[in-house]
């Protein structure tokens, strides 16, 4: 049984590196490279978000705040001090996201459920409004353009492999986290917070930890994205950005570790395909979302696993550690 999980893990990583490693070699077009880069970054963002929602049960509607923070750290530093500062700026983004998320986290974890959701939304919107408003510093609505990574990173393919590496490391870290004692406690918090308190653990403190960790990776996603799109703008802070990452996680399946990644890939491809063909994209995305929530609430990956489980004699073992983090 343990081997089964190990094989799955190996298969995922093999597929991950083969698919994403080969894209730049097979595709002459720059566009697919960028598309794949978006999938990588959003996929990591969605997985980090799912640490909050799927694992710990905290639906934050404000992760765009940290995504934007990561992007603006890079944008502002590159604009003001030159492209040499690109990499330190990513670090600065991570640092500031950590600090801000500790501060805001202390305020928002005091409430739970919908209150938590709305409070995170409120903070996200506050920062969006400030960015929008502080025209002379942030560029306001116009955003910041010409964010070109320095040196060889300016090459799209090199930058692609750079993100691939960072994303892979991030996913690996998150993966380890989920299967670690801390991950176990976080899962337990979602299922039965009172009992966790009775294990002598601080529920709030654990919630704060995962809020900070999740925000850290959101900021990394934002910083990396600035280098892909070469321009940033306050929309990155807007609540619809948070909504998008939620949508990705749900479509892929919040009960599955890799679900959100698949969800991100799907949404980006759907947006690309549908957006290019109809102006009624929001209708279509809305309908897809409705179907997912009503009919396939476990997300694509979750539902597929459930289907397979039905035909497998050892269905009972699906809770085996390593394959999923919830049945």
């Amino acid at each position: 049984m343990k081997n089964h999980a190990k094989i799955k893990e190996v298969v995922f990583w093999a597929l991950f590196f083969v698919i994403f490693g080969l894209i730049p070699l097979l595709e002459k077009s720059d566009y697919h490279l960028i598309l794949a880069n978006h999938i990588l970054i959003w996929g990591m963002f969605a997985m980090a978000f799912n640490m909050l929602f799927g694992v710990t049960g905290m639906l934050s509607f404000g992760q765009a705040l940290y995504y934007g923070l990561g992007a603006y750290s890079v944008g502002l530093m590159v604009k003001n001090f030159g492209d040499i500062w690109f990499l330190p700026a990513i670090g600065l983004g991570l640092l500031s996201a950590t600090l801000v998320s500790i501060l805001i986290g202390l305020l928002v974890i005091r409430v739970s459920g919908v209150y938590f959701t709305v409070l995170t939304l409120a903070f996200g919107q506050l920062v969006w409004q400030i960015t929008f408003k502080w025209y002379h510093f942030t560029g306001g609505d116009d955003g910041i353009q010409s964010i070109i990574p320095p040196g060889i990173l300016a090459n799209h393919t090199v930058y692609y492999f750079f993100t691939l590496l960072l994303v892979a490391v991030s996913i690996w870290v998150l993966r380890r986290l989920v299967n670690s004692p801390m991950g176990l406690v976080l899962r337990c918090i979602r299922q039965n917070p009172d009992r966790v308190r009775f294990l002598g653990r601080r529920v709030r403190r654990n919630q704060l930890r995962i809020y900070v960790i999740s925000s850290f990776f959101a900021a990394l996603a934002g910083g990396l994205m600035a280098g892909v799109d070469n321009s940033i703008h306050p929309d990155m802070f807007y609540w619809t950005t948070s909504g998008e990452v939620i949508l990705m996680a749900v479509i892929g399946g919040i009960g599955q570790f890799f679900g959100p990644f698949i969800g991100a890939a799907l949404i980006i491809i759907i947006q690309d395909v549908v957006g290019a063909r109809t102006e009624y994209w929001s209708l279509i995305i809305g309908l897809i979302m409705m179907v997912m929530v009503l009919i396939l609430p476990k997300g694509l990956v979750g539902e597929v696993q459930l289907l397979r489980g039905r035909f497998r004699p050892d269905a009972k073992n699906r809770g085996e550690n390593g394959t999923t983090f919830s049945a």
Binding site: F132, D142, G143, Q145, N230, I232, D235
Partner: protein, 418 residues
């Protein structure tokens, strides 16, 4: 069984839907245009009008056999008015769909993001409906051209109008209200700059910055009422103008003070949305007017647009229409749509007769700033029901010569320093 069949059908339909557009690749020589107009939400109307007008221009040109043996092919992707998504679309257009020209965009933020892509990939970007002066000054790059006025031109014309007004109706105080983002702030800065430049004495008694798309302006209106300015300059666009005027009317604000809205206020959507509720005597302008200039070309253009769509165009439409004709002109000169550098040369200094040109003037693209240079007319709302559902249109025109409206060199230097 039945369910399975259904599923297969849906899948097939989807495949056709996805694959079909690719299969229409033609043998003939094409000029591919990749447009990025928003079709949703507040700016959706501008996108809709622009796409219709661009398609209209293309039909006209294609039905006459195209240019230099090439026919136009036009695709629009709903940009959702989102810069990051538009960047993706622009990159897809360039590297996947191999378009010859990037085209369109309503919001300046999207324009700034797309011009960046245009610069990187050396692909010409024709701007039709975003007004930020930056695009043709400090953020100018060799592959960008704009075929509609920027806010500086509108505000220069506005300043001249206010200068003349002093002679007939002495005024002293002025207040401004505009949306709280770059577009709103730029207009006010540019108006003040131009007033100073033309030596107009004024006293600013209030500046107000409602959020863009704010639903409620009551508090602003009563506050402006308290400032009692002689002139109220507005910098809204679209539905915000409608909401502001509707809410200001019963307060009598628009009779006590002169409502002056020179960039987007005179857009047809305001007249059509408000009908007979629109008060007389507002001083407005826009980048194109359905009833000015009274030339054959403009009448024809408006009539055709109405026949095609069943509604009268907003100024956004004329920008897109002009954009297509400018491209046709450039391709005609170069002979093909592929030689980007030659096309750039062709655009620089290009002269082109457009619906909004009065008799005796031809629009041209300034070779240095890549900005189209046009006359601008400012009018006053007067009864006119020739363009229903509007009951008032602009009249009593004052026309300003194109050359007077260009930003002077020191202004551009100032922007570049920023």
């Amino acid at each position: 069984m039945l369910k399975h069949k259904n599923l297969t059908l849906i899948l097939l339909a989807f495949l056709v839907f996805v694959v079909w557009p690719f299969s229409v690749s033609a043998q003939e020589k094409i000029i591919k245009i990749g447009a990025m107009y928003p079709m949703t939400g507040r700016p959706g109307l501008y996108g809709l009008d622009s796409v219709d007008a661009a398609e209209m221009a293309i039909e006209e040109i294609n039905s006459k056999g195209g240019v230099a043996g090439y026919k136009f092919e036009f695709t629009n992707t709903d940009s959702k008015a989102k810069p990051d998504y538009s960047v993706m679309v622009a990159k897809r257009y360039i590297t996947q769909d191999k378009v010859h020209f990037l085209f369109g965009v309503v919001s300046s933020a999207v324009g700034l993001a797309v011009t960046e892509v245009s610069k990187q990939y050396k692909k010409i970007f024709i701007g039709t409906d975003h007004a930020s002066t930056q695009l043709t000054t400090d953020k100018l790059q060799p592959y960008y051209f704009r075929v509609s006025n920027n806010t500086f031109q509108s505000m220069a014309a506005g300043a001249l109008y206010l200068k003349e007004l002093k002679q007939t109706k002495p005024w002293e105080t002025i207040a401004y209200i505009g949306p709280d983002y770059a577009y709103g702030h730029d207009q006010w800065d540019e108006l003040k700059y131009n007033l100073d430049r033309f030596g107009v004495k004024y006293k600013a008694v209030g500046e107000y910055w409602p959020k863009i798309f704010a639903p409620d302006y009551t508090a602003f209106i009563t506050s402006i009422g308290n400032d009692k300015p002689d002139i109220l300059v507005a910098g809204f666009w679209g539905g915000d103008t409608v909401a502001f005027i509707k809410q200001a009317l019963p307060y009598g604000l628009l009779t006590k003070t002169l409502y002056f809205h020179p960039d987007a206020g005179g857009n047809y959507e305001l007249m059509s949305a408000m009908g007979s509720d629109l008060p007389k005597g507002l001083v407005l302008s826009a980048r194109h007017h359905n009833n000015w200039p009274d030339t054959e070309l403009n009448r024809e253009y408006v009539k055709k647009f109405f026949q095609k769509t069943g509604r009268y165009p907003t100024y956004a439409a004329e920008g897109a229409y002009a954009g297509i004709y400018a491209i046709a002109e450039a391709v005609k000169k170069v002979g093909n749509p592929d030689d980007t550098e030659a096309l750039v040369k062709a655009f620089e200094g290009m002269k082109i007769k457009l619906p909004e040109d009065p008799d005796g003037f031809t629009s041209y693209i300034d070779p240095k700033s890549h900005q189209i240079v046009q006359d601008q007319a400012i009018g006053v709302t007067v009864p006119n029901d020739k363009f229903p559902p509007a009951k008032l249109m602009l009249g009593e025109w004052k026309v300003y010569k194109a050359e007077e409206l260009l930003p002077p060199k020191e202004y551009i230097d100032k922007l570049q320093k920023k």
